[in-house]
Subunit: 181 residues, 4 copies
């Protein structure tokens, strides 16, 4: 039974909405136990419990919000060596396109790799000219089908990799991808 | 007389179109000499000549295209110490939103800082939920007013910083910015 | 049988030396088939063949060398959707500490994530104040025990993750890590 | 009269020591007013006051420490549009080489560019195989001549760019650099 933590910070609700979609996507894969946690309530135990973590934060000055930064700073030493081999991915909502959401995802992936996790993006396109190569992003709350599907696809892929790599299931490996949109 | 180099790579014409808009923006500031150069025709002398460089490349695997990478690799040693203090900014067009255009801009800014340049983004918003904090980006060819204006604003700001910092003009410093959209 | 590609570019031989150590490290895990390839001779087939890729390049302007960039640009489209789920890590040698080797590793990891790979760093320390959180790095040729061991540890960890995640072996998962040096 | 803010976070004193050296370097340029501020005591007014900011933080999970992140998150909105055109650079001390100090510097430069600042690294080498292309870095407290001089050179260069670009002085522009070590 794979364990998925969807961990997020949110100020106005945009990243919270995206986190909900990420959790929905993870739920599309059978046999997953899913925890959805705001960073204010997340504990060290949540991180240790998880096989896979989808982590999202508002884009603030191009890097994950300070609360999310503090979470990883706080857990890094106490969990050292115990996060190795967990699987992670990122998502972020920004004030505008070109505002740093991709860079914020990369800052989250940077924190994850530091503690030994394996990180990934998704090659699929979820709409015309819309993808999630470094995690799901949107300007403001995800509203369009492509934005919502990107968040769901991220969570689904996280669950697929956990099923395939951690649980050793052979039925969940994503098939060959389709054409690029 | 400020010297602006708009240096770009382009495969299908999208980044070329954006480069044209960047050059237009630079031309909005009086007293600027502007060179628009495809990377295939750009020389070391172009880089040495410029006070400010706006550099754009297609997003390819989240980093500037190899041709643009090769240009900076080629000029780094011969120009070492002579690029210090020039001013630089970045732009990129990608196959889709979330596809790495911001990261590609950051890869260009990384190359520029390596050779001693000062790099910047722009705080302005050019449309609803549209900005250029790490350079101008678009998915495909810039088409909307916000996308086109972002490219122009980038070029204009580059020229403004060159006028202010290199030419010592006091009439071109951007005024206090407006509200965030 | 896990398949490991150690792919590298090198100008003066420093990154080639490191690649050799990465391959040695991969060879410490039983049952691995290893290919060591200079970028000039690497083919698309090498990338498709591999379960895990350790990719190294000289630090040039803070980003992987243009030849390595060209390799990933060239294979990205023809392999689209077929690189998903492969495991990757990075290494780089620079002209000096503080010269961009970590950023170069991150540029390689950025390219790998773009095509769907899972990327990782290593939490272990291989000497006093020496680690490989984003891949193995050295200034010039790796010479000290810590530098050489970092490259080997990277290759070993790559093989361990391939054995664990791709081959489904239960005997190769890295144990709980030791104290941070 | 140029105004230089050296802003830092420090846990065990390593980054504080480096901040001291950065401030010393800035003091090598005549006519500079220098403020040295721990992030706990720094105010919004410090940021608004400064023409140039040297910002340092301990490397934690490859990104600036959460306290430094919080500082920039807190000031970003209230100062929006008023940080444009200030000049910035970064420094960091990590637990070990290869541990993320360069990436932490880049995270600081990312925050600075977000609010409109111009950021830079330094091309000079301060010892054999030792440089500061993305800011001054060290593993632990700076102890060697090359490490201490890197921090000083960073502060000096910051003051030189402020003198040249903001104060319009013609006597402080760094001369053509020497050979790469």
């Amino acid at each position: 039974m794979g364990k998925i933590l969807v961990l997020y910070d949110s100020r106005g609700g945009n990243t919270a909405a995206m986190a909900q979609h990420v959790a929905e996507g993870a739920g599309q894969i059978s046999g997953m136990e899913i925890r959805l946690r705001h960073v204010d309530e997340a504990t060290i135990e949540d991180a240790l419990w998880a096989d896979g973590i989808g982590c999202g934060a508002p884009t603030q000055t191009g890097i994950a919000s300070w609360k999310m930064k503090k979470y990883w700073d706080d857990i890094a030493n106490p969990t050292w060596g115990q996060m190795d081999g967990k699987i992670g991915c990122a998502f972020s909502t920004s004030g505008g396109w070109g505002g740093g959401a991709e860079l914020t995802c990369m800052s989250i992936l940077t924190m994850m790799m530091n503690v030994g996790m394996l990180t990934f993006g998704v090659t699929d396109y979820t709409g015309q000219q819309f993808t999630l190569h470094y995690g799901a992003v949107s300007a403001g709350k995800p509203r369009t089908d492509a934005e919502i599907e990107a968040a769901r696809r991220l969570g689904k892929r996280l669950a697929q990799w956990v099923a395939t790599f951690i649980d050793g299931r052979t039925d969940q490996r994503p098939g060959p991808m389709k054409d690029r949109s």
